[in-house]
Symmetry: C2
């Protein structure tokens, strides 16, 4: 037992309840803004609430920015972290390094004053908020004044100089998806991306198209084919076919996808931010294919029992926010595709 | 569009709400006990409530069989199916075939009067209950009088003549797990089974040991090493090492498993029926390894955000109740292992 509660690399020393839990599973964290020897203390300027959580907050607060801000303040005050009590999900933050603990300083490529984005979920990040300054309904960005703690195991990225900070934040929030899809897509394979025109879906289509190659096929499913994101997919040739369907209507989704991909997909990637799309996604996969659930609105039981009920022999994968080099892969997707870069600047940038 | 709402193979014609949903995702099903042309109508004698759901029912009903029965009756009356409103999970039923629809009759190896177990979840099975006769607290078996509908896509198994019906029911309820683990385990691999002494865990250990072979290693994690199931694992050599740990205490679990498997597992199989064991399971896997979540108490967000927070590069798989030949693989696990057969007879059989 080498573990020392004072300096657990996973931050278990910050867990107030329940006993033995790790920070993500904890009900309450100690968010005291003092860096322990293996922690990084940050001044937080902005939260990027994850898409499923923000959709829930908008709905439950009737799109009122003030009420959304109050709901976030209440959660953080009660739990010492921003974890949506309904969706269980969080988001990430942007801020600057105030202090690096003694045992970490010099061992990592960070110094006080560096501007960073956290690459671990807010659901495990000790957070204290003094104020919510503004809530952007369109993007889920929340301007705040507060402090956060990063643990030794916590991933972070220095904000790049060549990408608008707000754009970088949007892209880093979903960085796991393009990196995971890049390695799951086989050359010549058929990939169906459900929710293809959203923040993660566009990056996923770009990486899937690249990995599937000339002989492969990428199908994008969108709720509205006239959206700016959907048009980008066609114009930048990020998909071979675009399908308009409500992913919650499982049988219609399956029928429309099968019209352009009759054998079904080797890999289905679910990037939507609404509940109830598990079985539709499963029905788009061929026998022996895989379904990668990146959506935080995914229900474990709906997926597990749904596949059983359909008699579908598919491998269903829980999308993780982490994969090696995921931040670079996500940002490079912008740098390598000027049309995508322009779209993210227009959608998430300072002038948007 | 070849789909005809009158005879959808997935049973969408039985969905009352919401529109467009498949039966598993539906809020309410039409459980009218009349077989349509592609349906099987069954007289139901027994429900086998799934482990996570039954644990929740026992806790919320203070272990009172009468209250558990009433809760089940209320759910089925309201929703036309048995889907635990808290866990979202169901179970399966045993009964006999009353009527087979005209377009199915003759095309399947079933005739009226055959005794069968359903191999699809109760969460998508139209069910009508006249009465709950008895509730067995030890096993989750609930004697009932009622009727159920099986769809064209629904799997079922004739009850075998050489296995006690109650034992067959227990085994068939978890049939997906040993079949999935058999094909996920590589020769020479290290497999850690969390919840190894339970209904699914024992079968999983047996199949993992067989598939991993002489050079492989199977580690069973149990909450109590003196339980009958744990002793069976040792005596029948279904595991190479037994570890006693509370799977909810992630760091202790990891430390104890690493004592007997220092490099971590190629495959971790989670078979527990309590919440909060996602991160502990993830920490037992080596980098690049897989975690197979068979537990219906698994939280999707806890797994996804947990792996991200730990910076763990593991493939997390949603355990499906379906795999080709799963009923045969599960029952054969008993037939090939007399010690397991005896244990299941003692635990789930008529004399238990």
């Amino acid at each position: 037992m080498l573990r020392d509660a004072r300096s657990c690399r996973y931050g278990s020393h910050r867990v107030l309840a329940p006993k033995g839990a790790l920070p993500q599973a904890a009900q309450r964290l100690d968010a005291t803004p003092v860096a322990r020897e293996n922690e990084i203390l940050c001044d937080v300027e902005m939260l990027n609430i994850d898409s499923a959580s923000f959709a829930q907050l908008r709905a439950s607060c009737s799109d009122d920015p003030k009420r959304i801000g109050d709901a976030i303040l209440a959660t953080v005050r009660e739990r010492g972290k921003q974890q949506n009590p309904v969706t269980g999900s969080g988001g990430m933050f942007v801020g600057s390094v105030r202090e690096i603990g003694a045992s970490l300083a010099g061992t990592i490529a960070l110094t006080a004053g560096d501007r960073i984005a956290s690459l671990v979920s807010l659901t495990l990040t000790p957070l204290r908020l003094d104020d919510v300054l503004d809530v952007d309904l369109a993007t889920g960005r929340v301007g705040v004044r507060g402090t956060a703690i990063l643990f030794e195991s916590g991933a972070w990225a220095k904000l790049p100089r060549d990408v608008d900070e707000r754009v970088a934040l949007a892209v880093l929030d979903v960085a796991g998806a393009p990196a995971q899809v890049q390695r799951l897509t086989l050359p010549g394979g058929c990939v169906v991306v459900v929710g293809a025109d959203g923040k993660s879906g566009i990056l996923v289509c770009a990486r899937a198209k690249q990995a599937a190659g000339e002989s492969g096929r990428v199908v994008g499913v969108v709720p509205n084919a006239r959206s700016a994101g959907a048009q980008l997919l066609l114009e930048a040739q990020l998909v071979d076919a675009l399908v308009e369907a409500d992913a919650r209507d499982a049988l219609t989704l399956r029928d429309r996808v099968r019209e352009v991909a009759p054998s079904g997909a080797d890999l289905v990637v679910n990037c939507v931010n609404v509940a109830g799309t598990e079985q539709g996604s499963i029905l788009c996969a061929k026998d022996g294919g895989s379904v990668y659930f990146f959506s935080m609105a995914t229900s474990f039981t709906a997926a597990a029992l749904g596949a059983e009920g359909l008699g579908a022999d598919v491998t269903m994968i829980v999308g993780s926010g982490y994969a090696p080099h995921h931040a670079d892969i996500a940002l490079d997707t912008l740098r390598e595709n000027p049309a995508i870069f322009a779209h993210y600047n227009a959608t998430y940038g300072r002038t948007s």
